[in-house]
């Protein structure tokens, strides 16, 4: 049902022939995929396949990139990182990037409101009671799971409708991974469009509409969640598990 609903949505982000470089090293070799309004797309693949780099390229964090990345109809190539963010993309990096010189509250409310429709400060604390209880502590004193919640929570107040989440389940205890999964499902129900980088296939299949398989900086396969079961053997070879 999910994939059918998603395929009906208009294209939110369209990535065509995306190449990107870290200094002299060519890491993305012509990525092609799109994500539709309200869809949850995962990027899966082995370590070093180019999943994180794809998110970083969308955000303009790589200096050199060519091809086309269109958000609705606006071209992101050539734009600077802060301009891309202001067009309505929220980014949650792999290392969570919680600021140690800021309190939990300061971390949470640091991103400015860029568009209307974001969560209000009160709503955020209601949705994340753990963080409210520890609002005054130093951001990095939180547990890994709490830091992950905080990293997601803070981009919800900006009003961005497209969220890029880089391995939110990484390094967390199963019970916390489950909580993060619930959170991501809730966000999807609220209509957010999400691109999720994930290595944990079991986690990915619970929340996703489609899976984009990345290998050596290219998209080698795109599978809907419904087809996943049938294609499991093939996917496992991609992931090397």
């Amino acid at each position: 049902m999910n994939s059918a609903a998603a395929s009906a949505g208009a294209t939110m982000l369209d990535v065509r022939d995306l190449h990107a470089w870290y200094a002299e090293s060519h890491v993305l070799h012509g990525m092609n995929f799109d994500v539709r309004e309200g869809e949850l797309l995962t990027l899966i693949g082995r370590n070093g396949a180019g999943k994180t780099t794809t998110l970083r390229s969308i955000m303009g964090l790589l200096k050199k990139r060519t091809g086309s990345i269109k958000l609705r109809d606006q071209q992101l190539i050539g734009k600077r990182t802060f301009e891309i963010a202001r067009m309505g993309i929220g980014y949650c990096p792999e290392d969570r990037a919680i600021f140690s010189s800021l309190s939990v509250r300061e971390n949470m409310f640091l991103p400015p409101v860029l568009q209307s429709g974001g969560m209000s400060d009160d709503d955020l604390f209601t949705a994340f009671p753990n963080l409210k209880a520890r609002a005054g502590s130093q951001g990095t004193k939180l547990s890994g799971g709490e830091q992950q919640m905080l990293a997601i929570a803070r981009i919800l107040r900006t009003g961005s409708r497209l969220l890029l989440l880089d391995e939110p389940s990484e390094g967390l205890a199963p019970v916390v991974v489950k909580e993060i999964g619930e959170l991501i499902k809730r966000l999807k129900q609220q209509g957010f469009t999400i691109i999720l980088v994930e290595q944990n296939l079991r986690f990915a299949r619970q929340v996703a509409d489609r899976h984009v398989v990345v290998e050596n900086g290219k998209v080698v396969d795109i599978v809907t969640n419904a087809e996943l079961e049938a294609d499991m053997d093939r996917l496992k070879t991609y992931l090397g598990v």
Binding site: R80, F82, F99, L110
Partner: protein, 293 residues
């Protein structure tokens, strides 16, 4: 040697020490802010302090604009000049080693000082005291202007600290110190923030320069005489620590003043001895930026 140590002398030197400390504090705070956000060791800080005093002198002598307006105008003029430097020069060095920023700003300091020396000579020029007179406290005489300098610099230092530690603007600054790219992904124009921050640090140096003009003579070398001590202060306070820089500034001013009473020959040495001891005991500085992480 202690029998001729009068209270008059002791407090006189302590006040002088606090005056010097006020300049150390304001200058090292600006350096710490710039280093924290940009990783640039701003060797032009002394020259920018001198430029503040010089612009005030020019305003008075060519346009008849007095001390109080100059206290606002001169720092703004020098801050704009600083922002130009950041855009044209420092921005291009931001991905390179610290050393390049240090060399570029050092070269800049030499060029600025050289140009001014060429135009106006190296003898100091007097700047009239805007607050003549003073009050007698019984045990010592306190000139009003010196009182003003100490009080005003305290207000500036505490105000700057409050803004950085307790406002949204300060939170952006602290966050950008840590992870500028992530702050940019929140839609903040970090390059512009860096330009404005450099402008603020430079403006703070120029403000100190205007405050110094009526006390010391306005001369091209007034900044380079001070800057080495100020660097010692920043290191003692903890590189990049705003509060540490200000506290170390006043503390070292006072220590230097007291040394002038007790053992005058050691007064120019004491700060560096203190630096050795402080670094030995607390290698991260009095208030370590790392420790608060």
């Amino acid at each position: 040697m202690f029998e001729n140590l009068s209270t008059q002398l002791l407090f006189g030197q302590l006040l002088l020490g606090l005056i010097n400390g006020s300049f150390y504090a304001m200058l090292s705070m600006g350096l710490a802010i710039i280093f924290g956000l940009m990783n640039v060791v701003n060797f032009a800080h002394g020259a920018q302090y001198m430029l503040g005093a010089f612009v005030a002198w020019l305003l008075l002598n060519y346009l008849g604009i007095g001390y109080w307006p100059a206290l606002v105008i001169a720092p703004l003029v020098v801050a704009v000049f600083g922002m130009g430097i950041e855009r044209l020069l420092l921005r291009r060095l931001q991905n390179l080693d610290h050393l390049y920023g240090l060399l570029a700003t050092y070269a800049l300091a030499l060029v600025i000082e050289g140009l001014i020396r060429n135009q106006y000579g190296s003898t100091g020029m007097p700047y009239e005291n805007p607050l003549p007179g003073g009050m007698n406290l019984g045990f010592m005489f306190v000139p009003y202007y010196r009182l003003w300098v100490v009080a005003f610099s305290l207000v500036v230092c505490i105000g700057t600290w409050l803004v950085i530690e307790h406002t949204k603007l300060g939170a952006y600054l602290r966050a950008a110190n840590e992870k500028p790219q992530i702050v940019e992904t929140f839609g903040i124009n970090v390059p512009r923030m860096i330009t404005l921050t450099y402008g603020f640090g430079v403006g703070l140096a120029a403000l100190s320069g205007v405050l110094a003009a009526p006390i010391y003579q306005v001369s091209p070398s007034m900044g380079s005489n001070l800057i080495i001590v100020v660097f010692a202060v920043v290191v003692i306070g903890g590189m990049g620590s705003i509060a540490g820089a200000a506290i170390a500034g006043y503390l070292l001013g006072a220590i230097e003043g007291l040394t002038k009473v007790i053992y005058p020959e050691g007064s120019s040495l004491v700060i560096f001895l203190f630096m050795i001891v402080a670094l030995y005991l607390r290698p991260g500085g009095l208030i370590s930026a790392k420790e608060s992480n």
